[in-house]
Symmetry: D2
Subunit: 344 residues, 4 copies
Amino acid sequence: MSVRVGILGGTGAVGQRFIQLLDGHPEFELAAITASDDSAGTPYRDAAKWRVDSPIPDDVGDITVRATEPDAVPDDVDLLFSSLPSGVAAEVEPDFAEAGYVISSNSSNARMADDVPLVIPEVNPEHLDVLDVQRDERGWDGALVKNPNCSTIAMVPTLATLDRFGLDRVHVATLQAVSGAGYSGVTSMEIIDNVVPHIGGEESKMETESKKLLGSFDGAEISLHDVDVSASCNRVPTLDGHLENVWAETEEDIEPEDAEDAFRDAPTLDLPSAPDSLIEVFDDPSRPQPRLDRTLGGGMQVAAGGVQSTPSGVQYNCLAHNTIRGAAGASLLNGELLADRGWL
Amino acid sequence: MSVRVGILGGTGAVGQRFIQLLDGHPEFELAAITASDDSAGTPYRDAAKWRVDSPIPDDVGDITVRATEPDAVPDDVDLLFSSLPSGVAAEVEPDFAEAGYVISSNSSNARMADDVPLVIPEVNPEHLDVLDVQRDERGWDGALVKNPNCSTIAMVPTLATLDRFGLDRVHVATLQAVSGAGYSGVTSMEIIDNVVPHIGGEESKMETESKKLLGSFDGAEISLHDVDVSASCNRVPTLDGHLENVWAETEEDIEPEDAEDAFRDAPTLDLPSAPDSLIEVFDDPSRPQPRLDRTLGGGMQVAAGGVQSTPSGVQYNCLAHNTIRGAAGASLLNGELLADRGWL
Amino acid sequence: MSVRVGILGGTGAVGQRFIQLLDGHPEFELAAITASDDSAGTPYRDAAKWRVDSPIPDDVGDITVRATEPDAVPDDVDLLFSSLPSGVAAEVEPDFAEAGYVISSNSSNARMADDVPLVIPEVNPEHLDVLDVQRDERGWDGALVKNPNCSTIAMVPTLATLDRFGLDRVHVATLQAVSGAGYSGVTSMEIIDNVVPHIGGEESKMETESKKLLGSFDGAEISLHDVDVSASCNRVPTLDGHLENVWAETEEDIEPEDAEDAFRDAPTLDLPSAPDSLIEVFDDPSRPQPRLDRTLGGGMQVAAGGVQSTPSGVQYNCLAHNTIRGAAGASLLNGELLADRGWL
Amino acid sequence: MSVRVGILGGTGAVGQRFIQLLDGHPEFELAAITASDDSAGTPYRDAAKWRVDSPIPDDVGDITVRATEPDAVPDDVDLLFSSLPSGVAAEVEPDFAEAGYVISSNSSNARMADDVPLVIPEVNPEHLDVLDVQRDERGWDGALVKNPNCSTIAMVPTLATLDRFGLDRVHVATLQAVSGAGYSGVTSMEIIDNVVPHIGGEESKMETESKKLLGSFDGAEISLHDVDVSASCNRVPTLDGHLENVWAETEEDIEPEDAEDAFRDAPTLDLPSAPDSLIEVFDDPSRPQPRLDRTLGGGMQVAAGGVQSTPSGVQYNCLAHNTIRGAAGASLLNGELLADRGWL
């Protein structure tokens, strides 16, 4: 069984990752790519400045890029992945949903909307059912599902497993790769021999999205978790892979082994892009490291290490590939979950 | 008035910074350089693999390197700066002190000893007086004074100014430059396009040294401050400048402006290497940055920025040049304080 | 005696270097800064995104930026430095020259025009006299002088000294810093862990500008040198400093010492920004290196090393700071030469 | 048919690449790993500090490391790959060959010896037959085969295809990755924001090895090619992939297309590790780039681009993965050739 899928905004950095990840996908067949109006009508090969370290799949290079509007996308496409700039996404994603398309979107708009599921499949798959509310309220035939921000995704899988100890308060410092800002987001003059201790809006995304992802869904409404997250976000000179230093305070005392066991017991899903185990745990306190560990599980695994006790909980480091597990792969996995749960 | 000074272990990275900082010093005259036995007897120019970005001062290049033992150093040298490996320092620094030399040391040994002052001149100059106890107990004519670890120095000046609000608990994530590990401490294969989230012993140094620096001295004994510091230390691909994300919890509520005012009001000293103001405060939340701000005040100033309120205090970023304010400059300033207070 | 100077296009990367270099200049007083229309009317402090590693001089921060047109610049400004984008420069520099201003320009337009002197003061100061032809032909009261491209400047001073042996053919491979492309010219995704073996137009600039700089001037006309230069230009992950591998073929045989002597004997000028010696020669074959040697002579010196004989000449490496000796400092020195030779 | 193979010096950077490349090899089965005496007797997992970006193959982690001496290696091992330090290799490789082992070695010793084949399989496979002379003269049952230096391998495949036009003289500037110096060969302080224009012995290796590789073999003796190669070698801040700027002068004139056609027509071999085509040619003058193109053909392909005519030939850029095609993969391919030609 094959699902015909499309990509909204397929020429950018995340769009290119979508194409790389969809190449050879067992269930999804790439049938349409949209981009901005000036690219529409040209072959993908010419429209995209391809920078991924594997060549453009041959059949994809020949696809004619379409305009980003519902009329331009064939009706038999069932699922759309979106990596549109959030301003554009805020305008056109509702149009596509209204036109009947199911959208798995990486764009940052609408993530905190009450009736939009914000999902990491291994963490809160049940939130998907808020789509019933969404369809009801908005009168959509399609649907809009979001994945969280790349820095949030690296941390929340670990936090979710610690919630059994009563998650209370979290401090997190991030060391984020330049690819998170898009291909031209960080200039070389800014970041060679340097660190920038500020990423606009990032701290707030981590603080609010975490509360929603860890929240509960009672069939009608998602309640935010009352964990208090305080983030400090830094851009560092790495290409891919967000590393994070986390201090998690819990109601119960935890030994490092308790936390490591919890990490290792994280749920897994039987979906094509889901890793065999969600969290790889390192004994070596110097791991995980971005360059060595970002491609674990094809870039879909989260890595953790350096677990230590603190007076009020544990501290540890975690890592995820920001443009795979943290972006294109996140949307793809949400798409697989949507297919598996019968939402297409 | 000129003081004749020497450097113990003058060929390494910190030793070279000592030489650079002493060049043209208004009060100190470099009279002796020691190194390991295989360098003894050779001109400094040949003994050191000079890597600082200003040339070796001409007269220094011609100095004959001496063995690192009291007999090899002239008696009329009054003050020794030490950047010996800590194992060596633990052996020979007491010998020099016993032989009558006053040593301002950057080496990590003995920093937490009860009768060894661990000093940042603008923070706890009064701790110097524990030298009376030291001389008493050890029967030394000389003296041994320490400065803290480079990562501690970047943070404690800011914490000291916040203690008026009742400093309670601190979380700190560091983004440390490779020079902190010495010239060969971090290989290029380890750190290009990478971050290493572990620096052996560093977290513990930050946690204990901070308590001593912020502690009180009653004329006989230094009492540790009861602040609880929890550190997470990362090596990043920068050359110089340790950047730190700090969350300081205080008994009293603080607004960002309160913290910024406190930073700006940090004490200053009238010593040759002391900066005009101890802490430079940035409004721009993306500052301080290592490459842009590490040389403020000739590398002797601490920079802070990004101050925000948290439910239990403030969070902010701070930065100091790790081999100047955090190492050679720290010892130099301690030496100036020793001279100023009449300990030579 | 003080000359009032202005900067055309003063907010960009080279413009900022002009301001840094003019701060405290013994002869030049900064009296006007122009920028694009949307910056005109605002204080320089707000118009420029300042990224140089020393603070904006206080009095400069308060200067109100002007539009880039002759009417907007005070008449008592005698000398203008230009770092305009070459397209803009091609339009407005002639207007300023016609209005009577003398312009020392770093922009790449018009460098090869017959009546425009392309000058490195220590190499071909006599070419300045082609300004008589320029004024004659164009009817200008002012004048337009150019300095060569940053990659050309690093090499030509060494080639000029080798011409006594009959310079014949040159192969040169460049390893150029990212600042050469402007602040946003090279993205971090392009260059971290990477090299780009192509810089648009750069090879051709090196090949043609060298022939003009090394050419002779008979009082009426500049004749191009017949040296054949073949360049291969690479962008590497360094911030500042262009390093170049040069093979120079000469009619006469040369020993390495001959070349080194020639380098050391390069002419010097008694101008405020001219270095004491033009070319610093290293014995250590691993020098010069960009990070260690780019600030020699305040960034105005050229460094050379690794000189070896080849069957038909010599090979060696050379280096210059691309935004100081290779750009802002080059124009500044040309301005000093213009003042010294009475062209203002 | 499976050949049992071993690795001499299997714990270092190249040794680790051997293990990665042998994992799942269709013909070779890893049966022994040797290392220095202090590692002998311990499981490979503990002996090696594994830094390759794929995990240690499970069965390899459990292999007990052996001493590097013929007695310690099982007799049924037919082929040994060597990545020993050249000093050690010079001592022990002859012992192994005398004991009957066939050695495909990446170590730099003995590459220019008359009776030792220095081979790139697609370039000079016929040189392998000098092994008859080697066995004759040295009385060995085994054999010793070498592959060239990593920087030589990136260039010689392209030069070999140009020899049809009468290869005359070559200038080459290299931009070499840090991994070429081994894991600890280049410190981060040396190379961040820097280039080092000297690699000890490298230029001479390129100059002499090229002449042997391009030389002819008459059944008894290898004659060196009379091409004159002049190299300038630079270390740049890239992790893997040596990029080279080449100027090749030829007796006949060549158009860029002639050179590109020659590159595309390079011979290929039907061996497991040989790429489908030896040289990938890029139209885009900014390619090849190390980070984007070093893994072409699994790291076994050479890439070329930027071909231009010069007055006496062509200039172009080429690239190869220095620790795969330039080291471990080179030896592996030689091993496959040895097996294919019946030398085992």
